[in-house]
């Protein structure tokens, strides 16, 4: 017995030794992953895989394309009806060549690009859009375990509510013929073509959605290997927490990409990703907090804040997102405009930007961030630092020097440096005599908490769905809006929003929205703090990788020095 055991142990040990040795051998990689340094003087070079950092997405199927990680992949696989030119902010053709609306901007007709195909070779028709949109709108009543979280994009469409509750197809979406899609809205919405640029509203091939996608003799669920009509296609199913690989789609109807593909590398930890970047095995990543200055020195800064080119790797351009405080205007003392005004004027936004965000963000004087057509800074007249005016506002409110004002609750969600921001806000308010106590919740509880009427002052944020000023107006400040945490209600603003939405002339429409923003700013339902900004960096071999203010990378125009060799 024991002798036998000893023998087994000896054999096992030797096996272990061999295995261990085999592991240590061959630690030099078989292929070099570092890019070439020779730059070609002429234009873009074809070839190479760009490796791109993302966190594990929740979904990459348009059905649930909502968070930044997944949308990054979705937009490389799919083309929606329209796209947005990131430099001009204008809506441009994508799967649709042209579109028009009736005079009231409620009935929209899109003409699809003829001859466009899905990556499996099937033609893209108007019926595919009808199917894709209904798939999203009806999902809640079809399978309650997995409804689409992004069906609200379609809420303006006639028949959306019935689709949502009863599972009937939306009567407002019709395929007139193979290349004509007609959409009827419940109300005028002149910015509708912008909504149609969202990756969630891309067409999907019904057969593959319902029967799965054939791959290596197996069938893979569509949401693990979506097949789309975009510039890239998946080369293998999604490998969770590891990678998603897409390769150039040579049957793409538009301009074909220079890159052979994109290797989305999925990381659990930002710092690990950054070390991979420093080691040269990642082409694009996020800069961990505290490393921005060092990264700037090492990799150079992109002049426009959005385009990675050799020697100009660090991107710090403003994003279409705003970091702000919401006041619950329903209850005293925050129902008093002067109190809200005092708080807003007391906050030293520049100091917060320097102390917490390494100076990468921008103090917000408006609610609408830079890069959104119609953006103007300082539209919110109380959104700047002025201690004297803040103290005066407290006097006007009847609380001179903060006397008589109860301690206010300052709520925020844990993580992402919010604690540091709120500590600075607290001391700023203390300086004018306003006492606050903080209340922290995890994200899981925080957002539901804001929809109750328990909070007083709360950290809030809004990231654009579409880069239009309406998206920073209607979902937040319309008195019936779901995300109106402040319970702000101004009938004049509501009427103006309706008017702006039905104004088809773009310049006139934007002018109306700018007026609305001013009106809202005068009521101070929120106190803008900073505009979000990129904190990304690209490697030296990456050329012309445009990472826009919506946080989407334009892989179709990027290229690698020497084709990645």
């Amino acid at each position: 017995m024991h002798r036998y055991l000893k023998k087994t142990a000896a054999v096992m040990l030797s096996v272990i030794m061999v295995v261990a040795l085999a592991g240590v051998a061959g630690c030099a990689p078989s292929t070099s992953t570092s890019g070439g340094t020779s730059s070609t003087a002429s234009g873009p070079v074809k070839g190479g895989m760009l490796s791109f950092y993302i966190g594990e997405p929740e979904a990459i199927d348009p059905f649930n394309a909502q968070e930044s990680e997944g949308v990054q992949v979705t937009q490389s696989l799919f083309d929606s009806l329209t796209a947005v030119n990131p430099t001009t902010g204008k809506v441009i053709p994508a799967a649709a060549d042209s579109w028009s609306s009736d005079a009231s901007a409620t009935v929209w007709t899109f003409k699809l690009h003829p001859g466009a195909k899905f990556a499996d070779g099937e033609p893209v028709t108007a019926a595919d859009f009808v199917y894709a949109w209904n798939r999203i709108a009806e999902s809640a009543s079809k399978d309650a375990t997995n409804p689409s979280q992004i069906s609200y994009h379609l809420s303006p469409v006639v028949g959306y509510d019935e689709a949502n509750s009863k599972g009937t197809p939306m009567s407002g979406v019709k395929a007139i013929d193979d290349t004509t899609l007609q959409v009827t809205l419940q109300y005028p919405f002149a910015d509708w073509p912008y909504v149609c640029s969202h990756p969630a509203l891309a067409p999907v091939p019904q057969k593959l959605v319902e029967n799965g996608v054939p791959y290596n003799g197996k069938t893979v669920p569509f949401d693990q290997m979506p097949v789309g009509n975009g510039p890239f296609k998946m080369s293998a199913p999604w490998v969770h927490n590891q990678y998603i690989k897409v390769v150039r789609n040579d049957d793409y109807y538009g301009t074909k990409a220079h890159l052979d593909g994109v290797d989305f590398k999925i990381f659990a930890d930002l710092d690990t990703a950054y070390r991979e970047f420093e080691a040269g095995s990642l082409d694009f990543t996020q800069i961990p907090s505290g490393q921005v200055a060092a990264a700037k020195q090492k990799y150079g800064v992109a002049a426009d804040g959005y385009t990675v080119d050799p020697g100009h790797g660090v991107l710090l351009g403003p994003e279409a997102a705003i970091y702000y405080l919401s006041f619950d205007m329903k209850k005293a003392p925050l129902d008093n405009l002067n109190v809200r005004k005092a708080i807003s004027l007391a906050i030293n936004r520049d100091a917060i930007n320097q102390a917490v965000f390494e100076g990468t963000r921008k103090a917000a004087g408006s609610y609408v961030p830079p890069g959104i057509p119609g953006y103007e800074d300082n539209q919110f007249q109380f959104s700047h630092y002025d201690i004297a005016a803040a103290k005066q506002a407290l006097v006007d409110a009847g609380y001179p020097g903060g006397k008589g004002l109860p301690t206010l609750e300052l709520a925020y969600n844990s993580g992402a440096g919010h604690a540091q921001v709120m500590a600075l806000v607290q001391s700023d308010l203390k300086a004018i005599g306003v006492n606050t106590k903080t209340y922290t919740l995890q994200g899981a509880q925080y957002w539901p908490y804001l929809t109750t009427t328990k909070f007083q002052v709360a950290r809030d944020g809004w990231i654009a769905d579409y880069p239009i000023i309406d998206n920073f107006t209607n979902p937040i400040f319309n008195s019936t809006a779901d995300n109106n945490h402040s319970h702000y209600s101004n009938p004049q603003v509501d009427a103006m929003i309706l008017k702006a939405r039905s104004t088809t002339d773009e310049a006139a429409r934007i002018a109306l929205y700018q007026q609305i923003q001013k009106m809202v700013g005068d009521d101070a339902p929120v106190a803008p703090i900073v505009y979000y900004a990129h904190n990304r960096v690209g490697a030296n071999r990456v050329n012309n990788l445009f990472y826009d203010n919506m946080g989407l990378a334009h892989f179709d125009i990027a290229w690698l020095t020497g084709g990645g060799k």
């Binding site: 990689p29 490998v239 927490n241 659990a268 995890q442 957002w447 779901d482």
Partner: protein, 326 residues
């Protein structure tokens, strides 16, 4: 023996029920609604949320949910992830092989380095080697795991690469996949060392003290008096008795590692079950948390049982019930 194993297997049932119930209560006590979390900070249509809660039985009392869950498990159905809509079984089967790989690699290091260092330390008591082992074990025990991992990444992944002009270095993170630039084993080296570090130090210390204790006993003195060589005394007589506590420690450690290692997996971006459980707790994705934890608990219990049975082989004085013997 078989009676004993049968008895032990029967004990799994109450433990399984207890763990499941405990997890159920725990997940309902922790605040945060998994369904509301899905839409992030955007307010979702309350009707859709209500439908979803109903579909996941979240609108029923906890005891009813518990019974329904047991029914499902009896049919081999571990439920669906609320966050992603994928089946918990799929998620588990996808992640668990990675956890096993990492656990076994770490255990191999623990066995070779831990026992080896302990033996050297004991045999050469108070020598330079002994002092080195004692000091380095103290150091390893007190180092935070993520820091050690990070330092190794910097050294072997970045600096070494720069010094050798990209000729010799290790991958910083991730697991092997087709087309990867390194052989599969290369991806395991750093995470396995990191995961094994603390336990290896403990194993070395236990081995050292056990061996020193055994070497002072009468039967070892007898063996030496018989004129056996020092090597033969050590390997044939002393080691076997000294190994029992170390084997116990290492085996239980293997069980613990098979439950996943959150820190190591996060730092090395290793796609194992530990990080998955952490992520699912963050998302309040209860079906995934409960399902994977139950399976991991069962694995741990099986390993425990194997350890107990192996005692009988290691030490003839240990007998487990039944009508064995003459």
């Amino acid at each position: 023996m078989f009676q004993y194993i049968g008895k032990r297997l029967l004990q799994f049932v109450p433990v399984f029920l207890g763990v499941t119930l405990f997890l159920f209560i725990l997940t309902r006590v922790i605040p945060g609604d998994p369904v509301a979390m899905l839409s992030g900070q955007r307010v979702q249509d309350p009707q859709i949320l209500a439908q979803m809660r109903h579909a996941y039985h979240l609108d029923l009392p906890v005891w009813q949910q518990f019974i329904l869950y047991l029914k499902d498990i009896a049919q081999g159905n571990f439920g669906t992830s609320i966050a992603t809509g994928r089946s918990v079984k799929d998620i588990f089967l996808e992640k668990y092989p990675y956890t096993l790989q990492l656990a076994f690699a770490a255990i191999i290091i623990e066995i070779i380095v831990g026992i080896g260092a302990g033996v050297i330390s004991a045999v050469k008591q108070y020598s330079f080697w002994d002092v080195t082992v004692t000091l380095s074990t103290s150091l390893l025990v007190s180092l935070p795991v993520f820091w050690l991992g990070m330092m190794m990444q910097l050294f072997f992944g970045i600096w070494l690469k720069n010094w050798t002009n990209g000729q010799f270095y290790l991958p910083i993170s991730g697991a092997w996949s087709p087309g990867a630039p390194f052989p599969p084993m290369a991806y395991l080296i750093m995470p396995a060392i990191t995961l094994a570090s603390v336990s290896t130090a403990y194993a070395a210390r236990i081995q050292r003290s056990q061996l020193l204790e055994v070497r002072g006993t009468d039967y070892i003195r007898t063996a030496r008096a018989k004129g056996l060589s020092e090597g033969s005394v050590l390997w044939r007589h002393a080691m076997k008795n000294a190994l029992i506590p170390v084997v116990t420690f290492i085996a239980l450690d293997l069980g613990a590692m098979m439950a996943g290692a959150i820190l190591t997996e996060t730092v090395f971006n290793w796609p194992g079950i530990g990080y998955q459980i952490y992520l699912s707790i963050e998302q309040r994705d209860w079906p995934v948390v409960i399902g994977t934890t139950i399976i991991v608990t069962m694995v741990y219990m099986v390993i425990n049982l194997i350890v107990d049975i192996s005692y009988a082989f290691l030490d003839p004085r240990i007998r487990y019930g039944g009508s064995e013997g003459r």
